[in-house]
Symmetry: none
Subunit: 218 residues, 4 copies
DNA sequence: CCATAAACGAGACGGTACGTCTTGTCTTTCT
DNA sequence: AGAAAGACAAGACGTACCGTCTCGTTTATGG
């Protein structure tokens, strides 16, 4: 009488077999991504609903539920896709950190670019939404970090290692922690509105981080 | 599709006079705080509803809507109250930063205490919820910062200024920015799950921040 | 974690306490009755939906689900109310069978009136819908009979008993069965489209039933 | 609200050529009949769905939609087929009414057999479902009558005509109407739960119908 | 005996409605 | 007048089916 259920299923939830990916409609997926991103920008994340995304994309709700388990997941993929698309469209490398030999200048340049990106509403709305969701939903938060944040941070790690080889950073420094000295303050000001964001601010962060707060004794 | 609302009240909404604070039921307020905090801990913020809080507090929904405008506001006040209550109960000062003359040691000690607090579920659940809400709701985010974050950060500013007077921090350093070098990395790791949190980690942050990433001499 | 459940509840269904009838909105009830009847007439029973009734009545869906358990129940009550309302409006007695002393004439008159009623779309659409639902849903079917059919049939029982006293019907006849000889054929032709319905037809039924199919032997 | 449709196909709908009957899969048809009948018995008509039939029959949904236009049509054919199959299996004539010369006895016998059939769930579930559907869907209702009901009723017409020739029924009686005096009451009690069904009841119906309700002499 | 065209199983799709849940407002009753 | 209680309009949730539309895969002649 009751449908077959898999082990971990909650009562009443039917165990749908995994959908067949090969038959997936590319057009619908694109439309869903576009609708989700547009809605988050236009009405904000909390008032972006799955029904709204479906309606705007001209898609049945089930088509969303078939492939994603929450609006956060939809938005995550949409945002990832947006990033990949930007890269494809620009034809550039997936933005690396320059290595001119002047570490301070290179870091300042990248952070200034980040400041600009953080203020672009096309990126701000969805990434803020995902960050917020991730704060309260650990699983999604970790996915957000793995797929979006960590790849960017790795670029700093690489640049810092190169600086270590060049003798511009002390060899005993852990680059993964070091980068947080200038990246996290910017992130926190942006995320939590703890302070204004400007080129001057990020420049200062780089200087403080490289030379320390304490006086240079000889 | 989304209903635009006029400044205070949409049409059809009767402009209730501000409720009379003097007649407010203290018992209900306490019950609402307790219910809100308990629910956030037990079922998480997204599944904490106003209805749920009212039911658990044995209070009419209107009693909540009369005094607060959203569940985030309820939780904010509840959390603030929790803090004040802790202070009252312990009889201690509202936790200051020690000033032993050893800046590094003092900062490490405070950050270690912060690490412990971040792992206490009584504090973690509501503060994480409020932080998440604040990321996506600027008004609430700024309130969160003003009422909760900034007072704590001010303590670091004070300590750093004292260090500057003692010659342990370069005089040209802006303490409000300086504190972010070690506070923001911890905040980001906690908020966004970008990395593990430990005493060793916070100690390292303090060392890096004080002495900089670059070598002392060329 | 799971909500309180009453004994017979299926999993996942929360045990709502019975709503408080005294606070019920009379206006909403009327609007729901009107909408349900109008929709059944206009679009037919299968395409009458709870959502449609709610929308047309300007009522939330929950207000329907709070007081009724299915669209059939809504329609049943709406139809009963329609009947009572007709009676109230006309100020007449709830239509009785005349007793002129001429049984055949009296029965023919009532059946002719019934023929007219069966062809009135205001009555036909909902009663057909309820009859259909009752065929396949025994519980509702019995309710339909008890509340709507049986009271009408009782009038025939009364008239036939009076005829028995007058010597116009044999004393050993069971009136409850006897009435079916002329009522059921009409009902079946109407319900199942097994034949045309006319005054001539119902007159014939009365004659056949009263005098039998077999020849009168002395 | 309801979409008007052009003669054969609304815009966007491809005009599928009539499918080629000769290539039809007999196996699928049988499986569909079996699944439809089984589901109606097991879960009831309203919860019998086309998807369910297809799944149970191990058949694509399109195979159903290719050959039938609604679940009622599927069930109608399945039920007709069931009847034919019963006849084939039993090797009997498609059940006629005996003609022993005793009209009352013959009618009582046939009605008793009908009572039995009406209580057989193999027949009851689908025929009740079809009857219900027919009440609300005139086109289907007429098809139901033509294909299922009328052929059976014709047998009564024949038997009554034979009785007229034998002088057991008055010559001016219309047999098509006459049969309703005992058939329709049974039908209504079964369909609408207006009363219990028993041999005694049907016997009584025959007696009442043959001899009338009125006394023989005045 | 193979070529080919249909019917077929499978199932994704755009939709509609379901029945449930929560929101924020309103009303009733009690204190 | 504030509060508990809870009905109400509104609307999103996630599910079930609808009927349509591809997809390969049988299968069944007819060239």
């Amino acid at each position: 009488m009751a449908a077959q259920k898999s082990a971990q299923n909650s009562p009443g939830k039917i165990d749908h077999p995994a959908p067949n990916t090969t038959r997936r409609s590319e057009k619908s997926r694109r439309a869903i991504y576009d609708a989700a991103l547009a809605l988050v920008v236009e009405v904000g994340y909390p008032r972006t609903t799955i029904e709204g995304i479906a309606a705007r994309a001209g898609v049945g709700k089930q088509t969303i539920y078939r492939w994603w388990s929450s609006k956060a997941e939809v938005l995550m993929e949409a945002f990832l896709d947006l990033g990949e698309q930007s890269v494809r469209d620009s034809g550039l490398e997936p933005y690396a950190i320059p290595d001119t030999g002047d570490l301070a200048a290179d870091l300042k340049a990248v952070l200034r670019a980040t400041v600009d990106e953080l203020k672009d509403p096309r990126f701000e709305a969805p990434s803020r939404a995902l960050a917020a969701e991730g704060v309260v939903n650990e699983q999604l938060g970790r996915e957000f970090v793995t797929k979006l944040l960590e790849p960017s941070l790795q670029l700093y790690v690489d640049r810092l290692r190169s600086a270590q080889e060049a003798g511009d950073v002390r060899p005993e420094i852990d680059p993964r922690i070091a980068l947080e000295l200038f990246v996290s303050p910017l992130a926190q000001r942006w995320l939590q509105y703890t302070g204004p964001i400007s080129y001057e601010y990020t420049d200062t962060l780089v200087d403080y981080a490289l030379h320390g707060l304490a006086p240079r004794t000889r």
